[in-house]
Structure formats: C-alpha cells, structure tokens
C-alpha cells in the first residue's frame, strides 16, 4: 500500500522499510527485536550509519 500510494502521490522513489505483518499478537520484546532489525535499513535509507 505504501508503494502504491507513494507512486500515485508523486513520490515514486520514497524510501520505505518493510515490516512483516501481522504483529498484533507479538510480545513487546518481539516487537522490539523486529524494530531493531530495521535500524540498519532505516539508517541506510536516511544516508547515515546506525549508532550502536
């Protein structure tokens, strides 16, 4: 949906990070693990390196 909407609204190259769904039943720790798994990708898309 993010990609379709970005393209339609004129931001075809908008950087997006994909997070697998659903995570409604995941524990807080599991969600944190998922979030941490995205840090490098987010940093890469933002053009910076992740800080440990």
């Amino acid at each position: 949906m993010g990609r379709v909407q970005a393209r339609k609204l004129g931001f075809a190259t908008l950087p997006l990070v994909e997070i697998a769904h659903p995570f409604g039943l995941r524990t807080r720790a599991e969600v944190r693990e998922m979030a941490e798994g995205c840090i490098d990708t987010i940093a890469k898309l933002a053009g910076t390196k992740a800080v440990e």
Partner: protein
C-alpha cells in the same frame, strides 16, 4: 474534483478485445479481479455510451474525484463503465456521481475506510423526490434484495471503490471479515412515514431537492421490540447500542439508527422530536470506560482526551461527541423493528445533491 491529491494524467478507457461470449467475458473479469465476485454486464462501447447519456452533459473525461487508497481518477467515463457492469439504468448515473463525489470529501475519511481491517461498507441513503422517481425502495425489505435501484447503485459504488479506488481484498483492502454490505448497501428514506424532518432537510437542503448521503457503516443489528411505550423503546435501543468493543466509544463516532415507521410513530406520539430521540439515546448510551478491554480503553483515552479531558475507568464515555452526531432516518415497512447501524468511528456522513434525468438524459 474532490480530493487533497493532485490529478495525474488520466488515461482514457482502453478497448479490450474480448470474446463474444458472456461466460468467457465473466471468466476474464474474474481472472483480472475486475468484478466483485458476481457476474457483470459487459461494458461494451454501446452500453457505456448509453450510460453516459445519464451524465447530464458532463464531459466523459471530467474527474469527479481521486479515490483512495490508490488515488486513481474517478472520471465520469470510468464511473459509467462500472455502472454498466453493476447493471445500473442510466438514470442512476446522477446519484452515483454524487455518491462518488461525497466519498472523497475529507471528513468521510475514505483512505481509512478502504484500507482498514474493520468491516466497514459504504451505505447510501437516498432522499428527495428522485428517490421515488427512480424507484429506490425505502419501505418493505429496504435493506434487502428486490429493488433494482437499491441493488445496482450500491453495487456500482462498490465496483468504483474496487476498480478505481484500488481496494482489492487482501491487497489494499485489509478487511479482516468485510460484510455482505460490501456487495451493495443502499436504501431510500421512507419520508412519508417520517413524523419529523427527513435526513436531507435536517442537513439543510430543501425538501424538493434530491440527495445521497454516504455513511461508513459496520453492519446492521435488528432491534425487534413490541413495546408501545416511547421511554421503554428508547431504553432497549440504548441497551442494544452499548457494546464495549465499539469504534464509536473509542473515537467518538456517528452511530446510526433506522427507525421502523411503527417505532417512529410511537416516539412521536410520546412527545419526542428527532432531536429529543438523539439526546435521549446519547445520554442513555454513556458507558463506563472500565467496561472496555484495557488496550481498547487506552486507545479511547488517546483518541478522546482532547474532547473529554482526563479519562479514567469511571468516566462515562458518550458514544458520539454530541447528541446531534447520532444519525437517524425512518425507513422500512410496517413491523416492530428498527435497526442499529454501528459505524466506523473516524468518519462523518456526507450529503451531496443530484438532479434526476429522464430516459433521454435530460434533467427532470
């Protein structure tokens, strides 16, 4: 045009080299996901041209709205194509164009309605003289099958929502269950049986105008009560409406009531105006925050703090921000029934006028 988005280039409809066989065409539409799951009427150029005669002279390339979540342009022609597929008469094009315009108004919140996991469908209520002229049903079985106008207008709007708005189940439409109203959900108000103002007059239109109102409806709950006492009737309605896992309590919504003519008459005889009915229901449906699940209550706190201030477990949460936000129409035939229509919460009904056209496509 009605949207916050900017129209990109609109491509005209493309002619498809289709087999000259209805079954084959329907197999193609099924494979392409261009149908709602029911057989369609093939939108041949001749049929689309006839449908466009109902557009009262509007240019086929006019953009009526950009529809979320795909933000494709709903042109008059694209809407007409979907109207053909749904089986509409050309006379239904004006209310269909009005409905498409209405769903794109920001307060309707189409993006959320189209993409949510909720079961929400778009319910169309038709008011004014065109309702009878176009044979919309607002009496017996008005939410059921049998009336061509109800069935095909609601279906056409759903096809537009899918084929133009891009809400395909499992893709951009993330509904967990959906509901049967996503095939079609349309009725007229039974204005003759309404002891008060009909919906469009309540919404500042003249009685002689015709209008569609679009509503983000989550379903229907029948309320069968043989009570002849107005206060008692309102009490049992209120007890039906109160349910903790409700979007209305989470966000301060816009629940709707369809009063059957008999119940409307009982309330009127009991001395209740339409505003009185809304006020009484608003008061009687306040619910303690503690009745909600903890996570749902936390969402309500987050969503309604600005409206209600500090919210605690003992706070009585109103179902809507104001009594006037409760929607009410009179519809149906004789019988001891009314209907509660729970709604999406973050959506407001929108009304748009239309002018009926006669068989030749002229305004009438």
């Amino acid at each position: 045009m009605n949207s916050n988005a900017t129209a990109s280039k609109v491509l005209p409809a493309v002619l498809l080299d289709a087999p000259d066989d209805l079954d084959e065409i329907n197999r193609l539409y099924r494979a392409k996901r261009w149908s709602d799951g029911l057989p369609i009427v093939p939108p041949t150029p001749a049929r689309v041209e006839r449908m466009l005669e109902g557009a009262d002279g509007r240019d086929r390339n006019d953009i009526v709205a950009l529809l979320a979540p795909a933000f494709n342009a709903a042109t008059v022609e694209r809407i007409a194509i979907n109207a053909v597929m749904a089986g509409c008469d050309a006379s239904l094009v004006p209310p269909l164009l009005a409905a498409v315009e209405a769903i794109a108004v920001p307060e309707f919140n189409l993006q959320a309605l189209q993409a949510t996991t909720n079961s929400v469908a778009v319910w169309i209520v038709v008011n004014g003289p065109a309702a009878a002229a176009l044979e919309f049903n607002g009496t017996f079985n008005c939410l059921g099958e049998g009336a061509w106008a109800n069935a095909t207008l609601g279906r056409a709007l759903r096809l537009v929502l899918r084929n133009v708005g891009g809400a395909l189940p499992g893709d951009l439409d993330r509904a967990t269950h959906g509901q049967p109203g996503k095939y079609t959900f349309c009725c007229a108000e039974n204005e003759a049986a309404n002891p008060w103002q009909p919906l469009h007059v309540e919404r500042n239109l003249a009685r002689e105008q015709s209008a569609v109102t679009v509503i983000g409806a989550e379903g229907t709950m029948n309320m069968n009560s043989h009570s002849k006492d107005a206060d008692e009737l309102l009490r049992v309605f209120a007890e039906t409406i109160v349910h903790p896992p409700s979007n209305e309590y989470t966000h301060g919504g816009e629940p709707w009531i369809i009063l059957g003519p008999e119940h409307a008459e009982i309330l009127d005889r009991g001395g209740y105006s339409k505003a009185d009915v809304k006020q009484a229901l608003w008061e009687a449906t306040k619910m303690h925050g503690r009745r909600m699940a903890k996570r749902d209550f936390a969402r309500a706190v987050q969503s309604r703090e600005a409206e209600l201030g500090d919210i605690g477990p003992d706070t009585l949460l109103p179902i809507a921000r104001r009594a006037g936000d409760i929607g009410l129409i009179v519809a149906g035939g004789p019988g001891t029934h009314s209907v509660y229509v729970p709604c999406f919460g973050n959506s407001r009904a929108v009304t748009r006028t239309f002018v009926a056209v006669d068989a030749s496509g002229r305004a009438s």
